[in-house]
Subunit: 689 residues, 2 copies
């Protein structure tokens, strides 16, 4: 048997280029041309910048490149001016970012004009949901790179090397901050041992311009500190946090601040003591203020009351608008529910006019097949960032409402829940690297379009550098046509494909309860909190399907600014991609294409499956241009994705058919899975089998 498997691998490897495992990400080694780097200043960060130029220069042979730090009012924060042979910035980090931009443009053959590059957000942060025992919540790429279960406080050279590689990857795409631990935080993170390890990590990340932050447990004063309370208005509590912050800054002078999930999904918070979110956030903000630290306070809250869960964050936070300190930023997920394959933007964006707000995106694919599906998330984030809130007239996009363009925020920030783990390829799926990359690029420039980001990433990640260096124009033309173009197209379609086979037409939260992986539209055990069950969201019944959030329903539409409120409220004008998010409609409702809602739902599921099948063809054809390891990894994942897409299609169409009582259109492929077996195999119900 072994020999057969070996020969399969052999078969493929002979036709593929250099062996790769993906660990080098978008920073694959290139043969550098000789270059002369001129820089008057010196610092660890500048040394890195210089070395990158020496190692990777693709410009003219023996060119002289100048790196200049000088005050320039046109440059914001770590922005930079880029010339063909020059980088100028206000800060060391600005120089480093300029150097990475220069090298990227050389490698992707993009033009370099004299141009200014300013970051859209000041804080561009990765949230690691890493537990102190080394596991990663919603992580699908191995254990934590920061924490480990055994011998947890020794820092090895291997650790440092990995942290450095991680820091370099982040710096190369402009990420300048990391929350090192899970938002469902352990109080222990604030103990001396863990703070010492945090200091070690910070020391490795610092030269790359990256500040560390910690997620903290609001009850820490009582659980770690042994006080009787964690009431944010209690003097001893206030004092405890002040002392703790002081201790942290004595170890990490450039510590970034806290991320807090409080009074949310069982986490302790100010509401335990009858206080508001503002009371809690402000108390921490006051402790951090003297050191320049900030508080990122999450708006991800909902109770098990009768109110539409989609409305609750808005209802809870809007009355507090203007009551937060200027070093508090409210962290708002892109949509009102929870990182679904598609949601409309959260109505909090733009609505909080006197409070700093930051978007939270999820890079790890909790609801999108974990590390098994190929889904380029950039298009999803772009859709959110470019959504117009109309809060200050037309053009009040989510991007402009959060990056300081419209509201004068003292701090601006954007967070991505990281997909990084100990896997050799960092992210579980080779193509998930593109999501890490895209998050960094969009955080730096929230007007970038996803196609450009995909183009860059593919070129950096897959181009055969030996051919590139040989300057073989025929190879490049061939590669552009037969690899770059189809792979880019696949990436650009991949998110819509996932929506189609998982949650088309505005469906949401119909996944399996455990693991959030497969389909689970049926899951609703007796006594379960209704808003944790899919039927709460799809409302499928004999009369139709969808969540009525119109003015006649939960009235969530009214949380949006006009003209959106009316547009969403009117079934005739509501975009069909959000149709069942806002409307409950009969199965025979006539869609714009003339189909019934039921038929169109079935067509979307079928389309999703066929899109994945098309991706398989694209990738198989791409085989000759990819090294065997990465080719086969992706090929295998696409096979899983295809089988899963069929499972989603079968589960949802057969489950909903119970209510529609209409046939799946006979021209469509028939189910191959049985509903009762899918329900039985769904571990969502807590049965052990």
């Amino acid at each position: 048997m072994k020999s057969i498997i070996a020969s399969i691998i052999f078969l493929f490897s002979i036709v593929f280029v250099n062996a790769q495992n993906g660990h080098e990400l978008w920073l694959r080694p290139v043969k550098a041309n000789p270059v002369n780097v001129i820089c008057k200043q010196n610092s660890p960060t500048l040394s890195i910048a210089k070395q990158e130029l020496l190692d990777r220069w693709q410009g003219d042979n023996n060119a002289s490149v100048t790196l200049t730090i000088k005050k320039d009012k046109a440059l914001k924060k770590d922005g930079f001016r880029l010339g063909k042979n020059s980088v100028q910035a206000n800060t060391d980090a600005g120089i480093l970012y300029g150097v990475y931009e220069l090298l990227r443009r050389q490698q992707t053959s993009e033009p370099i004009n004299n141009e200014i590059f300013n970051p859209s957000y000041e804080v561009r942060i990765l949230d690691h949901w890493d537990n102190l025992n080394g596991t990663v919540e919603r992580g699908y790429a191995g254990n934590s790179i920061f924490w480990r279960k055994n011998d947890p406080f020794t820092v090895t050279n291997t650790d440092k090397k990995l942290w450095q590689e991680y820091a370099r990857a982040n710096a190369s795409i402009g990420i300048n901050a990391s929350v090192l631990d899970n938002v469902n935080a352990s109080p222990l993170i604030l103990s001396a041992d863990y703070l010492n390890r945090t200091k070690e990590i910070a020391n490795v990340l610092r030269p790359y311009g990256i500040k560390v932050y910690l997620a903290v447990n609001f009850a820490s004063p009582s659980t770690l500190g042994k006080l009787n309370t964690a009431d944010p208005l209690d003097k001893e509590v206030i004092e405890w946090w002040k002392e703790k912050v002081k201790e942290i800054y004595s170890l990490i002078p450039d510590f970034g601040g806290f991320l807090v999930k409080a009074s949310s999904e069982g986490q302790p918070g100010p509401q335990n003591y009858g206080r508001s979110h503002a009371d809690g956030a402000n108390m921490l903000a006051d402790a951090l203020k003297p050191y320049g630290g900030i508080v990122m306070w999450r708006a991800f809250v909902y109770s098990s009351n009768n109110e539409d869960r989609a409305k609750q964050a808005y209802d809870e936070f809007m009355p507090l608008d203007g009551k937060f300190r200027d070093n508090v930023i409210i962290q708002v997920k892109n949509g009102p529910i929870d990182f679904q394959p598609r949601e409309p933007f959260s109505p909090l964006f733009g609505a909080m006019k006197k409070t700093s707000v930051m978007p939270e995106f999820q890079i790890t694919m909790e609801y999108l097949g974990h590390a098994n599906y190929l889904v380029f998330l950039s298009t999803m984030w772009e859709e959110c960032l470019k959504s117009d809130t109309y809060q200050q007239g037309k053009g009040s996009t989510v991007a402009r409402c959060t990056d300081g363009s419209i509201y004068p925020q003292k701090y601006t920030a954007i967070a991505g829940v990281s997909n990084v783990g100990l896997d050799t390829n960092w992210n579980g799926h080779q193509f998930n690297q593109a999501n890490w990359y895209a998050f960094g690029r969009l955080a730096w420039n929230n007007t970038l379009n996803s196609e450009q980001i995909a183009d860059e990433w593919i070129k950096l990640t897959f181009y055969n550098d030996s051919s590139q260096k040989s300057g073989d124009k025929n190879y490049t033309a061939d590669w552009n046509k037969n690899f770059l173009a189809p792979v880019k197209k696949m990436m650009m379609e991949s998110r819509e494909a996932a929506v189609n086979f998982m949650t088309p037409l505005g469906l949401h939260h119909i996944m399996s309860a455990n693991g959030h992986y497969g389909p689970g539209p049926w899951w609703a055990p007796k006594g379960m909190r209704p808003e944790w069950t899919p039927p709460y969201y799809h409302h499928a019944g004999a009369d139709g399907i969808g969540f009525d959030r119109t003015t006649k329903g939960s009235d969530a539409v009214s949380q949006y600014h006009e003209p959106l409120a009316s547009q969403f409220n009117n079934v005739a004008t509501c975009p069909e991609k959000y149709l069942l998010w806002f409307h409950h409609l009969p199965w025979d409702y006539k869609m714009k294409n003339g189909r019934t809602l039921w038929d169109d739902l079935c067509y979307h599921y079928e389309e999703g499956v066929n899109q994945v099948r098309e991706f398989q063809k694209v990738w198989d054809k791409a085989g000759p241009y990819v090294d065997s390891t990465r080719f086969m990894e992706v090929q295998r994942k696409l096979r899983i994705q295809c089988v899963n897409a069929i499972l989603w299609k079968d589960a949802c169409t057969l489950y909903f058919q119970q209510f529609s009582k209409m046939p799946i259109p006979y021209e469509l492929e028939r189910p191959v899975n049985n509903l009762d077996e899918m329900i039985y195999n769904d571990r969502g119900d807590g049965r052990s089998h």
Copy 2:
């Protein structure tokens, strides 16, 4: 969860007609018109015939039907003359067959002219591979209806009722014989207790015109009888068998005879004592002769020598032609290997000119998905029966070489390995009933075509009798168009679909070693008898694929009569459906359609999958015409078949791709299974996991 499943069933049942479970086979109750039956004679068989007329008459109200027994030289054996209101025959059984034919024609609206119906074969026999412990070898429809593990010698009323239903079903399609036990026979079948139970079974079957036969173990004299030998020339052995036969006939005066698998796959036989198959068969034939019994001696033999397995039965038996007693019939499987999805006919047919030969077909689907696939086997058997052997000039079909038309055999016979078990629907898959039905119909008339058989079976099995009785012509027209026609088309294509997704272009014996169910082209453990491993048959290598049986190879072609030998030998004239059976060809061999062999192979696999998907559509559309139980059973089995078809396609294309080193044509659907995982999951290698 239960309520969901219940509601699914509810959903379907509301649109379906009367509940059915398939136990009534093609004999569903109909509302009879009043009829007057006139018959001068009396016998248990005639009583059954009369009762069937009273219970099921669909002709004119108050018609008089005459049943007449009288000598008529135009009628052979149990043949009959059929009129609109009359049946005439030489025997009681002939009357019974005539009555069933009359009722079938009424129910299917076929015309009834004055016509003679003579059976093609005298003995139309089902071989039950039923073990005495109640299991059934290669049985996929539950345990044996004859034998049981617990309390094995008590005959209950439930037993008798079941045996009677079984006998009636057989009689209704002309089957007149049953081998009650497995060809891999236990000596215990000849012990007093089992012979007594056999007698009880015979007593139930007798009124339906069915004789019982037993498969016997050749070593019985030494294992059951305690002799030192089972040498067929040994006097004590001869005497032992004579006494045993005498004992049997004292219990069962119309006992049919023995079926023997000897010196085959480890079974004892005359070769253990240096004797020939003729020596063994003749000894048993001599013992049976006084009572009119016969011996069916199987030609399914092969040794582990260097000779092509496909040639060995011919090589072994041809030298014995003319050496067998006239009450011995050599039982030959349809093809030279073993009930594969497609084989050319066995060269023994027509070649043995001085020996009685009978075809052996397999109704149970050992190599065709067990009871999971919808495969109408009638087309496969028709293909064999109508194959021209050319042994006595053009028109020497297998049918005519075995039914007495060409060679004067004292006995003619045809055997089908039964698919009957204790399952409510008898055969595991509702559509497997059609194969039982088709075997009976072809055994009676080997010139019938499969389309007619399918037409009859569908009408008898699925027509909604209440509508029929109401004489609603619109319903009938609708049913004919939307149920009968597409379902018949599906049945007619079903065998070719299975060939396409399992063993296209003459491939054979590439199934998983254990269970003969899934694909296993890779299976070849060290030291295994080569002819038990798939690579022995497909010979896939860098140079191509297929078994060279030409004159330059194993020369199996020369076992066929001209012009077949030359036609098969020449790759240009060899039918492509047998291409890789007879030829080893390079991967880029050009097929008649212009494709390379490799591409065409991939296309056939794809076509097979798509055919099954089409069957799913046909069946789903047929839903409104079928009761819910049978509809859902078949729907679920088709889903399994579809998933399996994809598995076969992926396994074979990915396995063979290792040798072809050519891409699966990119316009075809990509694999969703991984080769190494399929190999790992294949239990064929004996590893336990």
